[in-house]
């Protein structure tokens, strides 16, 4: 009886350790998952309104080094984990500095997301400025070429 109880206790401890290790693995998976954040300074249209690309914009992800983007520039940051912060710094046509900070969460299954900087600056809904992005591969290259968009740039567009 005593032996059986000791054996049961041992089995329970072993099971608990296995469950703990699996949980630790799951946490590591979520915390360590890499995501690519594409930072896009292109004009964007939403709700019939066009938000123009910046002449020069500074963007920072999670307090890393600032990236400076020109019109139609796209850069990337590779980050770990799901919750991040993007800081967009730009000057308006009166050379007044504006800083917009947005927090967002990247879905665990998503390898790449695209952030539209003009949409962030315009403080649009997150679904507009944060979109999932599938990198084109040989299998899913778009058949038609994207139309060339000429940007009307701010702040030089007085």
């Amino acid at each position: 009886m005593e032996n059986k109880r000791a054996l049961l206790k041992r089995r329970i401890i072993q099971l608990a350790v296995i469950v703990l290790v699996i949980l630790l693995g799951a946490v590591m998976f979520v915390v360590g998952k890499e995501h690519t954040i594409l930072l896009d300074n292109k004009s964007i249209e939403s709700g019939g309104v066009t938000y123009n690309a910046f002449q020069v914009v500074e963007v920072q992800v999670d307090g890393r080094d600032k990236l400076e983007l020109g019109p139609r520039d796209r850069d990337k940051e590779v980050v770990m984990g799901q919750r991040h912060k993007v800081t967009v710094t730009y000057f308006d046509k009166y050379y007044e500095e504006h800083v917009v900070v947005k927090k967002f969460k990247v879905p665990i299954s998503q390898k790449m997301v695209l952030i539209s900087l003009p949409a962030v600056a315009a403080e649009l809904d997150q679904s507009v400025w944060l979109t999932n992005y599938e990198a084109p591969t040989l299998l899913n290259i778009p058949k038609d070429e994207e139309p060339i968009v000429s940007d009307d740039l701010i702040p030089l567009d007085f």
């Binding site: 699996i22 693995g25 890499e34 770990m80």
Partner: protein, 376 residues
């Protein structure tokens, strides 16, 4: 029993013989350093990097030696398990320390299973553990290649095209571990006298050393030592000999898996089909160079061995180039020395074993002679 009287010459010869491999390496390294022309700063930096990179793997060899199972050539099984963990985290895109921890978690059950299998087989081949574990390494390598070359892709889902061969299945020869490259080394990297020291890696190694010291004193550690000294006496004392031997191999294999992950995070690249095979040979050679033998090894042997062995690795190509004009000669030399040192250590072990048997006989004879003299 009285002490066998030894002449000073015999004592000196015994010391030389006991440390023959280390002394030989000291001489090789001294000559190599002189001819290589490398600065002390460069050599120091290289040694620090290599000690941090290899020590964990070599420490994993200590437990089977304690249990009297000799040098665990089966550590390659753990290395393969570690590599499988790394392939998975690379595919899933898990980076940094979490990636390393996840790779270790994945490798643990695989290492434990392979270690258990290896231990079971070694129990059937008592007295021939080293050659058996060596061959098991080749056998499991075949299965590893089958899984990695044909299973990964169609059976085991691997989605990242950077990992999969262009034909659509199987893992590429080289896997880029950029996500975890120097993840542990860079956590607490400090500079001492202009040399970069990966402090966190050394802390992990120190923790493993503490674990080894504690383990030796634990009940299981004492059982292993008893089994290592005499299996029959241990059995008579109520120790489960076979079980203890299996546990020693399982622990060694799991630690080898972790060691391989630490090794590869430093390298930053995984040579899918070769890394594990090389590592077994080099780790064992390094331990032997440190003065360990088939039945006796300590933490001190690990650090002395990895320092001397890798010092030879660093200086030999340049020394070869400066001496003969061909760096390739140094390359051949270091491979030749790796195998040579294992052979030399095994031969010396056998000679020592025979000599100790003779010595025991002489001791007995001397005791009997002393007893007769006392009676007279």
């Amino acid at each position: 029993m009285s002490e066998l009287r030894e002449t000073k010459g015999e004592k000196f010869f015994n010391i030389i013989e006991k440390n023959a491999v280390s002394i030989l390496f000291l001489i090789i390294c001294a000559v190599g350093i002189a001819f290589s022309g490398y600065s002390l700063g460069y050599l120091g930096q290289e040694i620090i990097t290599r000690v941090a990179r290899n020590s964990f793997l070599i420490i994993s060899l200590l437990i089977p030696i304690m249990a009297g199972m000799g040098l665990n050539f089966g550590m390659t099984l753990g290395a393969m398990a570690g590599q499988i963990g790394l392939i998975f985290i690379s595919d899933w895109g898990i980076a940094g320390i979490p990636g390393m921890v996840l790779a270790m978690i994945i490798s643990t059950p695989i290492s434990a299973l392979l270690g258990w299998l290896c231990g079971k087989i070694l129990n059937m081949a008592k007295g021939r553990e080293m050659v058996t574990s060596y061959i098991i390494g080749f056998f499991i390598n075949g299965i590893y290649q089958l899984i990695v070359l044909y299973g990964m892709g169609p059976v085991i889902p691997i989605k990242d095209p950077a990992l999969v061969l262009p034909r659509g299945y199987g893992i590429r020869n080289t896997v880029n571990l950029i996500g975890i490259r120097r993840a542990l080394d860079d956590v607490l990297a400090i500079r001492v006298f202009g040399l970069s020291v990966p402090l966190m890696t050394f802390i992990v190694i120190a923790l493993l050393c503490l674990f080894m010291v504690w383990f030796k004193k634990s009940k299981l550690g004492q059982d292993m030592r008893a089994v290592g000294q005499d299996m029959e006496v241990a059995r008579a004392a109520g120790i489960r000999v076979e079980h203890t031997r299996i546990v020693s191999i399982v622990i060694s294999t799991i630690l080898a898996g972790y060691g391989m992950i630490i090794y590869l995070q430093n390298m930053g690249t995984l040579n899918t089909y070769n890394s594990h095979m090389q590592i077994g040979m080099f780790s064992i050679a390094a331990l032997l160079v440190g003065g360990a033998s088939v039945n006796r090894a300590s933490i001190g042997n690990v650090f002395l061995g990895v320092t001397l062995f890798h010092l030879m690795f660093i200086v030999s190509p340049m020394a070869g180039k400066n001496l003969i004009g061909q760096a390739q000669l140094g390359e051949f030399f270091r491979v030749f020395v790796s195998y040579g040192v294992i052979t030399l250590a095994l031969v010396l072990y056998e000679i020592r074993k025979r000599r100790s048997r003779t010595r025991a006989g002489r001791l007995l004879a001397q005791d009997q002679l002393d007893a007769i003299k006392e009676e007279q």
